[in-house]
Symmetry: C2
Subunit: 294 residues, 2 copies
């Protein structure tokens, strides 16, 4: 891992962190609702989606400020999905990233509403961005709602819940992850490149790149659940083993999962090459995703 | 009640019903998720919000098709809010409009996701409307997210939950209803008039009109809980009495609540007059709201 990519990630993580908190703190809303939104937004997210969005933008243009509202909206939607996924009626998780989940700190009703609030506010944020023109706003909102809604992330979460108690095929597993994780990565790639002025052909290749990136992300997650370090992960290792959840190592063995990951990495590289992006940051981020230890 | 206003309501209700169902049926999404969305959307809503939006539009222009995507988005957001409000962690209601609530027919996880899906899809619908220009889409999305999000309806629901177990003042009650019910009515008035080409001054008066309409709506709800007909209401009469919920009759007595309602009706009329709308439909709808028996 080059030092450069870590610097890149840290620099933009700080910018995203600051803007995210700023936007929520400035809201005139009931105090406890605000605290609940802030709690999950501040709960140690790695901001990988916004960083990917900026990297996609910077593959085609320079002033990243044009991409910031899309970054913040994306991270708010990611955060809302975590809050709702953790609810007792859903995955029933008490901890996330080593901290108590939103409904454990506040209560279920507040957690549901904080999620609804983050989701809704993300669209207001883009519609109100003074840097973007109306056409850019409409395109971003179209893509954000399509990738996060019933045809995208929400469908993925639904299918994931449905699959939890039965054995699924590798194809089904890929489809679930492509929706649940891949769709927001697709938005990150698309929104960044679109705002950076990429062509339709370039956008298509980055969409395919995002698809493989989502799969890489998920295989590595599954691998880390077997081989990872509990301290670094912020959650118990082997937590997938005890339940009936389908994972790559369970379906293909650990070596098979590693092979699958490398296959996805190769395909991701190919798409990147076809997209003719001007910087190598996206390639370095792919390596980072593929080899991360938490 | 004139026959004319009932015809008006029935005509547009049918149009809204059909479009709503059409948009959801056409989605390529997991079947159970679609059924859950359809169930609540079809569960006998009166479509008063979309009808108000059309009436507001027709106060300034003719072809109501320009207002349809805003109507459908508004009703989807209203429906999502009912699904989430009914959840065990929120109001814990088993019935709504005489039918089992979403989470009783499906399950809690599906109900949460169906709500998230309706909310997200509402923005996609407006962004994808081929009749509107980009500026209109951005303005509508700005207003819809602002009125339904953490500064609007979500704040109202949060404060309502908070207030449930204590006595509140009339002023606090008004604030809760202005957010929880009034904000979406404000959207109905604003979106319709904006798309119809109303001036800034006219928009302001319609905003105030919506505020009073929301209060009329709520006082009448509270009055019906005391004097209503269980059959027509689709829920038990007197259900507010048994709990600690603050209502207008409890705070002011039944006669006091009636007086308050008439005061609001007068103020609503005044704002309508100042808005100089070209039709009398909004005035007739105000009477309809004020005197409805279910």
């Amino acid at each position: 891992m080059s030092e450069k990519i870590n610097d890149y990630i840290n620099r933009y993580r700080k910018i995203v962190d600051k803007k995210l908190v700023h936007h929520i703190e400035n809201l005139s809303i009931p105090e406890q609702l605000k605290q609940s939104m802030l709690y999950s937004v501040e709960a140690g997210g790695k901001r990988l989606r916004p960083i990917l969005l900026i990297a996609s933008f910077e593959s085609f243009a320079d002033d990243f400020n044009y991409a910031i509202s899309s970054c913040i909206a994306l991270e708010m939607i990611h955060t809302y999905s975590l809050i709702h996924d953790d609810l007792p009626a859903m995955d029933d998780d008490d901890y996330r990233r080593g901290k108590p989940t939103n409904h454990k700190v506040f209560d279920e009703a507040t957690a549901i509403l904080a999620g609804d609030a983050l989701l809704t506010y993300s669209f207001e944020l883009i519609a109100g961005d003074s840097l973007l023109n109306d056409n850019q706003k409409v395109e971003i909102i179209k893509m954000l709602s399509a990738t996060s809604g019933p045809k995208g992330m929400v469908a993925g979460q639904f299918l994931d819940m449905e699959a939890e108690t039965r054995q699924v095929t590798v194809e089904e597993l890929e489809n679930i992850h492509a929706l649940k994780t891949g769709k927001l990565l697709e938005f990150a790639m698309y929104a960044g490149a679109f705002l950076g002025g990429a062509s339709q052909t370039q956008l298509q290749h980055l969409k395919h790149f995002a698809y493989y990136l989502g799969l890489i992300f998920q295989v590595q997650d599954d691998i880390l659940d077997v081989t990872g370090d509990q301290e670094k992960l912020g959650k118990p290792v082997g937590s997938d083993e005890g339940n009936d959840k389908s994972t790559y190592p369970k379906l293909l063995g650990l070596d098979g999962a590693m092979d699958k990951k490398n296959e996805y990495v190769e395909k991701a590289y190919q798409e990147l090459e076809k997209a003719e992006a001007k910087s190598s940051v996206l390639k370095e981020l792919t390596d980072y995703f593929s080899n991360r230890d938490h």
